[in-house]
């Protein structure tokens, strides 16, 4: 499909949600850094020169400098900027002795608001790294695919042709009915209510990195203890048990904890060949808090059984369709839902497990969610697995400082013990 580059691009429901979240996040202390992702790419000098040449394309800059608009249309579109902009910033090379030492700086540097992609070449004695910060507005949904396809030009990215989701009202209606029933069931339960943070509270965060070698070792040990392929359930159990301890300490009422989700669009009609959706997310699931007060082994078993049940009931599929339907809902329709739910755990805790195959295409070294979180979200667990695991634990003003440190220390200690 050789569409002229300056035509508006139809967006998916995920893009639409992200644009909503970004708009909301502008009232936060980190407003200039709304929700970005850092992709760490290995590179060489020739490739860097080629990239500079590609980025000189006016169309690409217009595309990256665009914005989401909906107006009176059925669904939102990405409108490339009318004039040439600096939507993508390729910065000057930074020499440094050790990439590890400046990685955290790269992760937390604010992304200027007029810029959707910033690329910083960092040269160490051993290698050249491109630290690419993407705004979620480009990274989520199918926006990233479109951007990368354009950025690739005649390059080597080999992206498959991207199709756009078409409206299948019958599927959307069915998903809506199922979702409605599911949510009704959830609303009847007594969900633990996490206090909504004050908007001006800054985020505290801890980033934990596990190398690919250590991760393999850890996964083997976990598999031996808890059965094959237990790692992410074990990780979730560990995090939730720690959280449950803190919730009990604060005497938060409610019989269940709800684990929200980001949406997995793999295998979604119309997105064949996309690369950024190899993301298995944890669907909204209510977990009895008593389950989290048992031994870790028992918690892992219970959580696994809960996920199996939800999978068998096709909960992830209905949420994929619901995500698609989301693009037809105007902001004022999203607002009441979001306002109603922050009082529950839903929408206030994020657990994203990205086991991306992106490395085959981009030679990605690693992949990080920035610790910043959208408004109304007091807890964030962002887990990415790409040549090693990185886990960002963020919180916004709901724990006392020593409680948060205690939680992080306990988590680190358990990981270290497992690795010994």
């Amino acid at each position: 499909m050789n569409r002229p580059s300056l035509q508006p691009i139809p967006l998916s429901g995920i893009d639409w949600m992200i644009s909503y979240v970004s708009r909301k996040s502008r009232c936060l202390p980190e407003r200039s850094n709304f929700f970005s992702i850092v992709l760490e790419l290995a590179c060489n000098t020739t490739a860097l020169e080629q990239l500079r040449h590609t980025l000189d394309q006016e169309d690409l800059q217009k595309l990256a400098g665009g914005r989401v608009k909906r107006g009176l249309q059925w669904y939102p579109k990405w409108y490339p900027a009318e004039h040439n902009t600096a939507g993508i910033r390729l910065e000057d090379e930074i020499p440094c002795q050790d990439w590890e030492a400046i990685r955290d700086i790269m992760l937390t540097r604010p992304l200027p608001s007029a810029c959707t992609v910033r690329i910083t070449p960092v040269r160490t004695p051993q290698k050249l790294i491109l630290a690419c910060s993407f705004s979620h507005l480009l990274f989520d949904g199918i926006g990233a695919e479109e951007f990368l396809r354009k950025a690739a030009g005649n390059g080597d990215f080999h992206l498959a042709e991207l199709q756009y989701p078409t409206t299948d009202w019958q599927t959307i209606r069915q998903a809506g009915v199922k979702m409605g029933n599911y949510m009704k069931e959830i609303n009847q339960k007594s969900i633990c209510r996490i206090p909504t943070p004050r908007k001006e509270t800054a985020v505290r965060y801890h980033i934990l990195r596990i190398s690919a070698e250590k991760l393999t070792l850890l996964q083997k040990k976990i598999d031996q203890k808890y059965g094959p392929f237990s790692f992410s359930i074990w990780l979730l159990a560990l995090l939730l048990q720690g959280m449950e301890k803190q919730f009990r300490k604060q005497e938060l009422p409610g019989e269940y904890i709800m684990i929200p989700m980001s949406v997995d669009l793999r295998n979604k009609r119309g997105l064949n060949g996309s690369i950024f959706f190899n993301q298995w997310s944890l669907m909204p699931l209510t977990v009895p808090r008593t389950v989290l007060q048992r031994t870790l082994t028992e918690t892992v078993q219970s959580l696994r059984a809960l996920y199996m049940t939800a999978l068998a009931e096709r909960v992830p599929e209905m949420f994929r369709d619901a995500a698609e339907a989301m693009r037809y809902i105007p902001y004022f329709g999203i607002d009441p839902v979001v306002r109603r739910h922050p009082g529950q755990t839903l929408g206030t805790m994020m657990f994203s497990y990205l086991n991306s195959n992106v490395s085959d295409i981009f030679n990605a070294q690693n992949f990080y969610h920035c610790p910043v979180m959208p408004a109304g979200c007091p807890l964030g667990f962002f887990v990415n697995n790409c040549n090693g695991l990185n886990l960002t634990i963020s919180e916004r003003g709901i724990f006392r400082s020593d409680d948060y440190t205690q939680f992080v220390n306990l988590f680190n200690r358990t990981l270290e013990e497992e690795l010994q």
């Binding site: 094959p228 199996m308 086991n355």
Partner: protein, 85 residues
């Protein structure tokens, strides 16, 4: 159902793994471990659900020794054994 051959089971497993991992089916290698075929802990659950629906075998409650997960072939062989038993 018990007349199904190991080859047929293997084909269905590979097709499902391709669907779950979004890889082309020709890239699914039956001799390679599940992890190398792109299966992770979450997609493994999806695969178990598929096996339960397709052949009514609940490996999660019946247990699955690591040797059956050596590669896709070994898993197909185990499914055939259970179906024929």
């Amino acid at each position: 159902m018990s007349n199904i051959t190991e080859q047929e089971i293997l084909q269905k497993l590979c097709a499902e793994i391709a669907l779950i991992t979004r890889r082309p089916i020709e890239n699914i290698c039956p001799d390679a471990p599940l992890g190398e075929n792109g299966i992770d802990s979450m997609s493994f659950l999806e695969l178990l659900i598929f096996i339960k629906k397709e052949w009514s075998i609940d490996f999660l409650s019946e247990g699955l020794s690591p040797s059956f997960l050596k590669d896709v072939n070994a898993l197909a062989e185990r499914i055939r054994e259970v179906l024929h038993s």
